[in-house]
Symmetry: C2
Subunit: 225 residues, 2 copies
């Protein structure tokens, strides 16, 4: 990002960034060698990442492995395991994003090479800002916006929406109660990013969930084709 | 935070942190000299910070000045001005939190010493993690959790809930549609923090808004008593 006069940016030292990318590349190689398609799932706290993962786990069962990133608690991994998939928790202990090093350790812990899953989903820490700068080794970043958050969030947090391949508009069952215009969010995202697909989902009613499952499985089958 | 074996923490260099605290102390001195009570408002994106500020602005009018922090766009300041209060926008240009230096510049820009407001509210960047570590010169931190985010967020993001003086449970009008137990959130917050007050609010229906206004004005009147 260019320095603006009078504005002081927190700079991430270049060698550290390159080290993250190096480890991310190694994670990516390991994931691909297992024939898995990996997604880095990013949103605010409470947009419904874990609830969506529970819904996906109920359908995908052992075809899905999940790495859960949280500042603290093992709550999310327990929810995903209960729904039927494989899950591993990373507690970041204060850090506001996952990095490739932490994910590398989680891949060891989850015994990646012994799994026969098709999909690996990494749920990042709930944060729309910092996680966008760290590659973890994924094939794609997907971001959620839930209806209660408001349809003005894309341009307020452009760094993530510029990098995603999938936009997930969640809690769509709340549409009657919410003044949220999905077309506004999509249009603002298109102003930043020319290559993303959109799904409107409700983990509660199931709307869009199977469709999103099929989409991810199709991406995985293209890897091994 | 103590280093846990096998866990790598992002360390903030001590001199930088001290510089922030020094500038925060100077901001605090300036704000107090003007007889204002200052609040640092922190939550996830979409918890309703700006909507609450609009509701407060409609009641408080020129008794309220607002500093709006956002990664990008001037949207929030415009909303608060339209509702009748004084507002100034800080675009952080990528940074995930406000710091005392940025707020100091905003105090100049808003011409703090020429204002006759009673309250100054600083709306931080939508993020439950990073803003908690930076004092801005405020009298208190207040955190919002909205019902759609879920009642499990306090222990997942403990650093902010440990530091607040006010817990604002927002979008309370959605209670019939949400499985959110306010008592769970409050109890978890009490496990981290012995000195906070709670308000249940709906900026949409107005529930709790006047009460919160009165509370803040009482805090301000204690400053000058």
């Amino acid at each position: 990002m260019p320095e603006t006069p009078g504005r002081k940016e927190v700079k991430i030292a270049k060698p550290a960034m390159n080290k993250n990318d190096e480890i991310a590349a190694e994670n990516h190689r390991r994931i691909e060698a297992c024939g898995m398609f990996a997604v880095n799932l990013i949103s605010s706290p409470g947009s419904g990442k874990t609830t969506l993962l529970e819904a996906l786990a109920k359908i995908l069962q052992k075809d899905l492995a999940v790495i859960e990133g949280d500042v603290q608690t093992r709550r999310d991994a327990e929810r995903v395991e209960k729904a039927g998939s494989i899950a591993c928790q990373i507690e970041t202990g204060g850090s506001c994003h996952l990095d490739a090093q932490r994910v590398s350790k989680a891949l060891d812990e989850i015994k990646l090479e012994s799994l026969s899953c098709k999909l690996l989903i990494i749920e990042n820490v709930g944060n729309l800002v910092c996680p966008s700068s760290y590659n973890l080794g994924e094939h794609m970043k997907a971001a959620l916006i839930s209806l209660p958050e408001g349809d003005d969030k894309v341009l307020k947090y452009p760094s993530i929406f510029r990098r995603i391949k999938v936009l997930l508009i969640t809690k769509i069952d709340l549409q009657p109660q919410m003044e949220f215009d999905p077309e506004r969010a999509i249009k603002e995202c298109e102003s930043l990013n020319q290559g993303f697909d959109t799904f409107k989902l409700s983990a509660k009613t199931g709307e869009g969930v199977e469709e999103f499952c099929k989409y991810l499985l199709a991406k995985q089958s293209m890897l091994t084709a």
